[in-house]
């Protein structure tokens, strides 16, 4: 169980997320093979059945504890300690922004922006240090991943400019 609270009861709400998601996926999986010939359905039914049975055992255990008054449905464990919760959510938002912009801005600029904003959101207080860190890391990353290893990550304005400045690369 995830956590204890001041009342002494275990908080189990967040513990249910994985089994619920897993069982929902198992049901969807079975639905997606429903029209298949029996031979192609077997392994899906076997795996989905196993996951559903395990999930039901887990729910039964929680239900027994709930009947005894030993657990309560709380989801605090999922979000971690209250201090800095907004910062962490902001960081997840930045990861989403990275995914949306990387194809347009390319590796180096997106990485620079992500590291700069990410370090500030994560708690770094000096803008100058964040900018220096982001610039050094992004340029090192460009040198290592793009120039040295030849990774075919999306290119943006920076990579296009460097290709023109260093055409021999």
């Amino acid at each position: 169980m995830s956590d204890d609270n001041p009342s002494g009861r275990k908080q189990v709400g967040s513990d249910l997320v994985i089994p619920v998601v897993g069982m929902a996926y198992a049901v969807y999986y079975v639905y997606s093979v429903w029209e298949f010939p029996p031979e192609a359905q077997r392994s899906g039914f076997f795996l989905a059945g196993m996951l559903v049975v395990l999930g039901l055992i887990f729910f039964a255990r929680i239900a027994v504890l709930a009947l005894r008054g030993q657990v309560e449905l709380e989801f605090h464990a999922l979000l971690g300690p209250p201090e800095g919760r907004l910062r962490r959510l902001g960081f997840v938002g930045l990861i989403g922004a990275y995914l949306l912009t990387v194809q347009t801005l390319g590796f180096t600029l997106t990485t620079f922006a992500f590291l700069f904003l990410g370090s500030l959101v994560a708690g770094l207080e000096s803008i100058r240090r964040a900018a220096t860190f982001a610039a050094v890391a992004a340029l090192s990353g460009w040198l290592f991943f793009i120039v040295l290893l030849g990774t075919r990550f999306p290119i943006g304005p920076f990579e296009t400019l460097m290709n023109q400045v260093m055409p021999w690369r």
Partner: protein, 508 residues
């Protein structure tokens, strides 16, 4: 090349010629191993663009050297800061840190280095000579037995590595379910893909492992400002002290020998990783010690036993991977992904098609430990400082650079999103006590399990009893049942006993 003495000597020289790769890998491994929570598999994941881009023998040598070194590095902050760098070093804190507090940090570090390197050398040498017999195991494991072996491996991980067995089993089953995503083996029709084209070939393993381990780790890192308090980084031993103690450490040779072999045996069991091996070795060393009462107070044997054992595990976890294609732990699972990318077969096929590669893995390990003897000591003085690198630098860097690794294998932008999705799944799993290694191993084994399952059913004409038709399979079913029933039975007995004790106290 035949694997007789001459073949092994040739392989040894070939591995030595890779010194230019092994030495940097050793330094990176020690450095990263010294960062708590940043285990070998995380470092290998960060460097995936490198290991996927180079030849398979170079990639393997690099990964193996890094893996061994990170186990050794984990002991440094455990001794100096009371913070284990890796799970395998948790037992080292029990006597290592008290030694530091008593002003014997140098001796504790010397004991840790000598025990780790000796343990690694002993177990890799033993494995090299045993590998020809272990490689035969795969010939006795057919599709029927493979199904049971995979289920048994997952059950072991759930029972040993996860703190809550039912959660471990759910994690493994969810991994298997996700691993069965994509086109089916018979009709090539997509299943459970949500209509996403990039998932038609199944879950891409590299983005899945990057998400489950690296991105989720970065999200959890943000909950604290730094890994270790800044003041604790000042606790550094002097060099003259360290070197003086090195020779003295060898008087524990017998303890190093048997605890490293114990680590090797435990490492072979899927799921039973370095943390379990080191605690078992610590406990056994105390049982057989002449001074058991000194354990926990800064006893030398309390440092030697766990360090030798957790380095013995490094060899052990690779044995099931090489012999039958089932990874013995998280790092072996990551290595399996890299090897699969390079098209390397596992099990008997590996020993038939590419025996040099199979033996080369263990030989690289042996050579890495030899190199550590000469390269390690001049750097250790400064290593503990890494633990005060602020998480506001570490977390964004881990995310930004591992996402490049997620992109490399297929060059699909969708793989970045898949990695982040698995990162969120891994985060929820970690926060709620579901074992992420069990999920990953499930994802890896999912397609293999399905193939073996369908093959067995086809051979038997759809008869389910085929899974109980072989002696080896039935023995494994028995062990699987014991594994699943042992923990609840023990809990039940413990509850009954405590209830009986409470009742008898009330009567008195």
């Amino acid at each position: 090349m035949e694997m007789n003495a001459a073949g092994l000597a040739e392989l040894f020289l070939y591995s030595v010629s890779m010194w230019w790769l092994i030495i940097p890998a050793v330094f990176i491994g020690i450095l990263m191993g010294a960062i708590p929570g940043f285990a070998a598999h995380n470092t290998i994941i960060m460097l995936l663009p490198l290991t996927l881009a180079v030849d398979v023998d170079l990639a393997l040598t690099f990964m193996v050297a890094l893996y061994c070194a990170s186990h050794l590095g984990g002991g440094i902050p455990a001794i100096l800061l009371n913070i284990p760098g890796t799970g395998g070093a948790a037992a080292t804190t029990l006597d290592g840190y008290p030694m530091s507090q008593q002003g014997n940090a140098s001796r504790a570090l010397a004991l840790s280095f000598v025990a780790s390197i000796s343990g690694g050398l002993i177990t890799s040498a033993v494995t090299l000579f045993m590998l020809q017999y272990l490689s035969q195991v795969g010939f006795y494991v057919r599709s029927v037995e493979m199904v049971v072996v995979m289920l048994f491996g997952l059950a072991l991980i759930a029972a040993i590595a996860a703190r809550d067995m039912i959660k471990g089993l759910i994690a493994g089953a969810l991994g298997l379910m996700l691993g069965a995503m994509g086109a089916d083996h018979i009709y090539a029709t997509p299943r459970g893909t949500f209509g996403i084209l990039e998932l038609f070939d199944g879950v891409p393993l590299v983005p899945a492992l990057i998400g489950l381990f690296a991105i989720s780790e970065a999200l959890i890192m943000l909950e604290s400002r730094t890994i270790a308090p800044a003041a604790s980084a000042r606790a550094m031993p002097s060099w003259s002290q360290t070197f003086r103690e090195i020779l003295g450490a060898f008087r524990h040779w017998w303890l190093m020998l048997w605890t490293s072999l114990l680590g090797l045996v435990i490492g072979v069991l899927p799921g039973a990783g370095a943390s379990i091996a080191s605690f078992v070795a610590y406990q056994q060393a105390r049982v057989f010690s002449r001074t058991p009462e000194a354990f926990g107070t800064g006893h030398e044997q309390g440092v030697v036993a766990p360090e030798a054992a957790n380095n013995g595990v490094t060899t052990g976890t690779l044995v099931p991977l090489l012999a039958i294609g089932v990874p013995g732990g998280s790092t072996a699972a990551v290595m399996m992904v890299v090897l699969q990318f390079h098209g390397v077969p596992f099990g008997p096929r590996l020993f038939v098609q590419d025996p040099v590669l199979a033996y080369g893995v263990i030989m690289s390990m042996f050579v890495a430990y030899v190199f550590m003897l000469f390269t390690l000591f001049p750097l250790t003085r400064y290593l503990s400082r890494i633990t005060v690198v602020a998480n506001y630098y570490m977390a964004p860097m881990i995310v930004a650079f591992t996402l490049v690794g997620a992109f490399v294998p297929r060059n699909f932008m969708a793989d970045l999103t898949i990695a982040v999705a698995f990162g969120l799944l891994g985060y929820v799993a970690r926060k709620t006590g579901y074992n992420v290694a069990a999920i990953l191993i499930g994802v890896i084994l999912g397609p293999l399990l399905e193939r073996s399952f369908l093959l067995s059913m086809r051979i038997s004409g759809g008869d389910w009893t085929v899974f109980f038709s072989s002696v080896i399979g039935n023995v494994l079913w028995g062990l699987l049942a014991v594994t699943l029933l042992a923990s609840p039975t023990m809990n039940l007995l413990r509850n009954l006993r405590s209830a009986r004790n409470t009742q008898s106290k009330m009567e008195h």
